[in-house]
Amino acid sequence: MSILVNPLATVDQLSQSGSQLDGVPADLENSIRFAGARLTQAAGILLRLPQDIIAQAIVIFTRFFVGPEGGSLKEYGAKVRNPVALVSIIEAHTTQDISAGSLYLMAKLSSTPRSPRSVLNVYAYLDSFPSTFVDASEFDEEKDPESYYLTEGTYHAQRTLLLRTEALILRVLGFQTHVALPYTLCINYLQTLDVFSHPESQDLAKRAFAQLNTLLLSPQLVYLTHQPYALATASIYLAARELGVKLPDEEWWEVFDTDREELGFLVVAMRSMEGFAAEEKRKWGKRKVPLTVEEIEGELERRSLLNGRG
């Protein structure tokens, strides 16, 4: 396998997830996955990890939940579908644990490892906010340290859980921890397109990177369905469109192995992100997106009650 190529999800894995098998509706699954990926990104920033490690962790997190044999949002706490992984895993894992586990695992494999204590402290801090969609200004407000203090006992319990979660992720993914990212390819392609002489080239590169970062949170799971070269190409195409930077008239994306159809799909996916994120924020308001098994069950109950009344 080349360093530049990613393993991709199979049709089987995309058409059915463990969560759906367990009766978690697709829209709730999307919400939880979006919240989980955002949580991973936020925790990564607070842990001062490089963005490529954070991105890898988000991809691992996303891979974990696809496919009938992947983790189920609702039941991986009590049991995991895969009979191999099932053995001896009885603790309740939460989406948050999987997020922390992915981040811990990918940091460990990088040249910037983080200790379990740092990781757990950061997640405890993020967990102390009352809503999922926190306004950036809220992070600047003084917070009562008590609200996110991890007692020694809790720390030890959570540490054990973190390490078990790590092993669980590895098993469910068959130890496939290779994640290729589009960032460096993106710079390389921009150089090839010779846009760095352009006065707006810096903005273009930044915009393209921003698109790639946003795409990590996409409900279309494009990092699981498309190779990095296609992602990089599409991000440049859209960024250039948005900033009015002129690129060659020819079908230049074919030089980067991307055909028009892929390009179109990815551009649409990127452009839909803004609406998707706004809708998620509107939908959940000040509430928390359910991330633990109990919370998810509570949410399902709430929904069925609402439906019953309607």
Binding site: L4, A167, F175
Partner: protein, 466 residues
């Protein structure tokens, strides 16, 4: 005046027209044949793909490379036909076969036959896959006292092995797990021998022609690893497996990791088994690169020639003095900057300028001039002077007589791994994490060349079978 036979314009035009038509027909025919051929090829490919798909149903990683990419091959021929000037030929875009992932299978799918060896990183047994009857090597990863979860060395071993698909690198077929979270096994292809055990049981060393073949195979694997930004960091004869067809494969990636240019920070110097460890590591360099693997390769070359390890130091200090004895003492000219390495400060080197050169030439009297050039360059104290793996492959040593022996002509040997339990070898293991790399106190190397004058240098000559 025009004659009937004059070549006028009309004639020429008609002639050209005829010619064009003829050519057109020819081209159409060729085109048709080509299309037919392509269709046939596609059909074959599909059949093949279907066959592999049905073979590999529900199975882990090792079929990945053959996975058909057709699902993602979307061509948009329609749009391109608008330009009439050039013939509408769909441009072929590069497509990569994408591997997949799935949960680990259980180790119960394998039946353990016998232990092969216990290394510092795990226990290896020979096993049979119950469903297929195939013989594999099953390596149980050591989790021991890991306090930070899954050991990073094991993760790297899996990561680098998964990324390495090469004829002379052991192939990791899948990772299987047992009942507890600590039971993780690597399933790898089984090979009958390792070079170390094999050499110990051989009455005579490998022939020069055989050594060349072994070195070529080894260098091609190292070239592949280095091209893919992987350092092996524990090359030694016991990590080189060999089958009964003269083919070798590098194994045990327990020390391997990805590197970069510039090298990543905080790489440990505690890598590579002592006898194969490069001098810059012994001197405590915190930045190192591919050259450390090339040093190990040099040690292996010497070991194949001598049928015993080349530099058998008892500890770091002894190893370093053995190296200096063989390769000479470094100077600021031969190795600029070596004195600034952390452990070099405590070195006391012999003051005189005489007798400090390499004795590799004299130590290997049967080696040709080019051969000893290659060995000396691999064992350059200055890492920058060691050749790359690609340079080794292109070395004239491999083109002079005796030529590398075809692997098919290699002798076969009874396999210890296949039949009986192996004894533990009295050779040092790869360093464990946590040992402190240091050189105690003052190190006095001034005496190591004291006796050199009294040594006999070179015999008359000997005949040797090649």
């Amino acid at each position: 005046m025009k004659t009937r036979w004059a070549d006028d314009e009309d004639d020429a035009a008609a002639e050209a027209q005829r010619k064009r038509e003829k050519e057109e027909k020819k081209r159409a025919k060729a085109e048709k044949a080509r299309k037919l051929e392509e269709a046939e090829k596609l059909r074959q490919q599909e059949a093949q793909a279907a066959a592999t798909a049905s073979n590999g149903a529900g199975n882990g990683t090792h079929h990945l490379s053959e996975r058909p990419a057709k699902r993602r091959r979307v061509s948009s021929e329609g749009e391109r036909e608008s330009s009439q000037a050039q013939p509408a030929q769909p441009r072929k875009l590069l497509r990569f076969a994408a591997p997949e992932w799935g949960p680990c299978r259980h180790v119960d799918n394998f039946e353990r036959l016998n232990h092969i060896e216990e290394g510092s990183y795990g226990l290896v047994s020979r096993a049979r896959e119950t469903a297929t009857g195939e013989i594999v090597a099953l390596k149980k990863l050591k989790m021991d006292t890991a306090t930070d979860g899954f050991p990073v060395t094991a993760l790297r071993e899996i990561q680098t092995l998964k990324a390495s698909r090469h004829r002379h690198i052991v192939d990791l077929r899948e990772v299987v797990v047992g009942d507890t979270l600590n039971d993780v096994f690597l399933v790898m292809g089984f090979l009958e021998h390792d070079l170390k055990t094999l050499q110990e049981d051989m009455a005579e060393p490998f022939l020069p022609s055989e050594i060349k073949t072994l070195l070529l195979q080894l260098s091609s694997a190292v070239e592949y690893l280095h091209d893919n930004w992987i350092l092996h960091r524990d090359l030694k004869t016991s990590n080189i497996l060999m089958n009964n067809r003269g083919e070798i494969k590098i194994a045990d990636f327990g020390m391997a990791r990805y590197f970069g240019d510039p090298p990543p920070p905080n790489m440990t110097q505690l890598v590579v088994t002592l006898w194969y460890r490069a001098p810059e590591l012994l001197l405590g360099a915190d930045k190192y690169d591919r050259a450390i693997d090339m040093w190990s390769l040099g040690c292996i070359f010497g070991e194949l020639l001598n049928k015993e390890p080349l530099l058998q130091g008892k500890n770091e200090v002894d190893e370093l003095s053995k190296i200096f004895e063989l390769c000479g003492i470094p100077t600021e000219e031969t190795w600029p900057g070596f004195k600034r390495l952390p452990n070099a400060r405590s070195l006391r080197l012999p003051p005189s300028k005489q007798n400090i050169g390499s004795v590799i030439r004299a130590k290997f009297p049967f080696l040709t001039t080019t051969g000893s050039q290659l060995l000396s360059s691999l064992l350059s104290l200055n890492p920058a002077l060691r050749p790359t793996a690609s340079e080794v492959l292109a070395h004239p040593y491999f083109r002079e007589d005796p030529r590398p022996k075809s692997t098919a002509m290699f002798p076969t040997f009874p396999s210890k791994a296949g039949q009986e339990k192996r004894r533990r070898h009295a050779s040092p293991d790869a360093p464990m994490r946590g040992d402190a790399p240091r050189m105690p106190g003052e190190l006095d190397f001034s005496g190591i060349f004291a006796g050199r004058e009294n040594e006999e240098s070179g015999a008359g000559f000997q005949l040797k079978l090649i």
